[in-house]
Symmetry: C2
Subunit: 337 residues, 2 copies
């Protein structure tokens, strides 16, 4: 863990090193993480397991883009920045090992905010079995977070997006749309919403489907897999593009995470949220037709929502039986509003 | 390579995916990088070499902190963001393998600027033997770059900061202060400075000392090593702190990279720049007393500048023979001005 460098005015060293020590001291250190050298040197040294491939992924988590300073508690920011990066490892069927933290902060946030952030990060780190291995800090006006998660998967077991074939059944884990509804509740400024509200928890404290992803990979049940981070309509289109195929899904089969009294109060359509809302971090996967998939794995529902088609288009069969093209309307930071 | 997610207004997907394709298409793809799966899935899959440890490091490179939009050409930004991350791998004695690119851009910079940036990045990637493996993009008002570099070092050969012992001789590679002078030249707005000016090149296009670092590690010549990114005074203090020791260096022995007509014109003191200027990305290392170290390795000078001491303080012997404490005055983003 070492500083970003700005060649410029000479400054007394020490403040940043002290900050790095605070981060290191707060970190959860797993016993078997394979970390030979962690924070404190130019780089971390990590011992890969024989017969395994390394899984590498990174994620931005930026104030004003991915979270709001005044709306999102620091401990939720700490949890979520790691959980969402680790979700990509789950989507490959891998197990997390360690992570690097890029953290740029205003000086005003190096006190209480940082302490709370590190608490949330530590909880996620311990829960997900992912040890802080190093990183880089610097000072900026806005809170910038970048997490690189490193995992492992047995050679040949990593599940890609490209393996779906026409006829394969499409599954999703859990329910979709709840995280988006949680965000809307947070934004709605309604009184009486508590941090432990299940919908808020879906948005603030996502749980990557690690056990499910590993099980599907080890048993070779999934032909293709990814996590749903930007919304089902967008992510299913990506899986199909990678596989050179299309898909037909049925509106009536999609498990709705936002079919609640709160959704009705906010006048949101639970199906719309399930199709286009993001950040559920559920797994989207395909299995060969006829492959038996249980209805749930360790309490997480697994639902067949449609099938892969040869024709390269994504269509939705409505509850009325009508077939219509499903446009990708999930999150795209570069699309014009 | 996939998007950062902002749960919010639904948007048409596709613009970001198109951007990712442009980045992927521009990337240099090494033949033996061990990348089983690169850009385009949830995560990259990388095959580690048997008997090697993985080297992991990351670096911020932020507009307004590490570079200026109007002063630094996009191709130099592309080169440097990777070179400085790879320098940390050199400092462990490792070889780079692949990297992840976190790139957040204003929409105005997704055209010509991005093209030039990717050109510089591609040149660095090929030169350093470090393949783009994935990353994350999103849209922001300022240009934010975060690079995670992944390398390898034979198990047990990684050179840490902590191995220096009293009596060890302290060496630096190359010359110090040139990059800082280059930055000052760039800022001085003097006419007639060309991009191929050697001092500007030191600042804009640093070359990590990969071959030297690997040689020192393989031959087990270095007892401790790090790269000089924040300035000799700051980085030597870090090496000594890690080793539980101190150091005495001699002003007259420090190789000056800024002892030029330009330095005199700008009225800068070449020794001050060598002691406290950053971003030279030279290697600072120690060797057991009496260990033979050549005067140069592959054309890069190696200079003994002092020795490790048992007393935990860093002192400088001036050209007049006077001994004085050497304060760490390199870059520290969290120090008060």
């Amino acid at each position: 863990m070492k500083s970003g460098h700005k060649a410029g005015k000479g400054r007394a060293a020490g403040a940043e090193d002290a900050l790095l020590r605070r981060i290191a001291d707060s970190a959860w250190m797993g016993k078997n993480a394979g970390l030979r050298v962690g924070i404190g040197d130019d780089a971390a040294l990590f011992a890969p397991s024989a017969g395994y491939e390394t899984v590498l992924t990174c994620d931005w988590f930026l104030e004003g883009v991915h979270f709001l300073r005044e709306k999102h508690a620091a401990k939720a920011v700490g949890w979520k920045c790691l959980a969402r990066a680790v979700s990509d490892i789950a989507a490959m069927g891998g197990a997390p090992r360690c992570f690097l933290l890029g953290l740029a902060l205003p000086e005003s946030h190096t006190g209480a905010w940082l302490k709370e952030f590190l608490g949330g990060l530590r909880r996620a780190s311990r829960r997900l079995g992912c040890t802080l291995a190093g990183g880089d800090t610097t000072r900026t006006a806005q809170i910038l977070i970048h997490v690189t998660a490193v995992g492992e998967v047995r050679r040949g077991e990593g599940v890609l997006r490209a393996g779906a074939r026409p006829g394969d059944t499409i599954f999703v884990s859990g329910a979709l749309g709840g995280a988006e509804l949680g965000l809307r509740l947070l934004r709605s400024k309604r009184r009486g919403i508590r941090a432990n509200d299940p919908l808020l928890r879906r948005h603030l404290y996502p749980e990557p489907r690690l056990a499910l992803g590993r099980w599907l990979a080890e048993k070779r049940l999934a032909t293709a897999m990814m996590d749903i981070s930007d919304g089902l309509s967008t992510d299913l289109a990506r899986l199909c593009a990678a596989s050179g195929a299309g898909a037909r899904i049925a509106a009536g089969q999609i498990p709705l995470g936002a079919a609640s009294a709160e959704a009705r109060e906010l006048r949101v359509d639970a199906l719309e949220l399930a199709l286009h809302g993001g950040e559920d971090y559920e797994l989207l996967f395909t299995a060969r037709k006829g492959q038996e998939i249980p209805r749930a794995y360790r309490g997480v529902p697994l639902t067949a929502i449609g099938e892969i088609t040869a024709k390269r288009e994504i269509v939705l069969a409505g509850r009325d039986g009508k077939i219509a093209a499903l446009r990708a309307k999930g999150w795209d930071p570069f699309a014009r509003s």
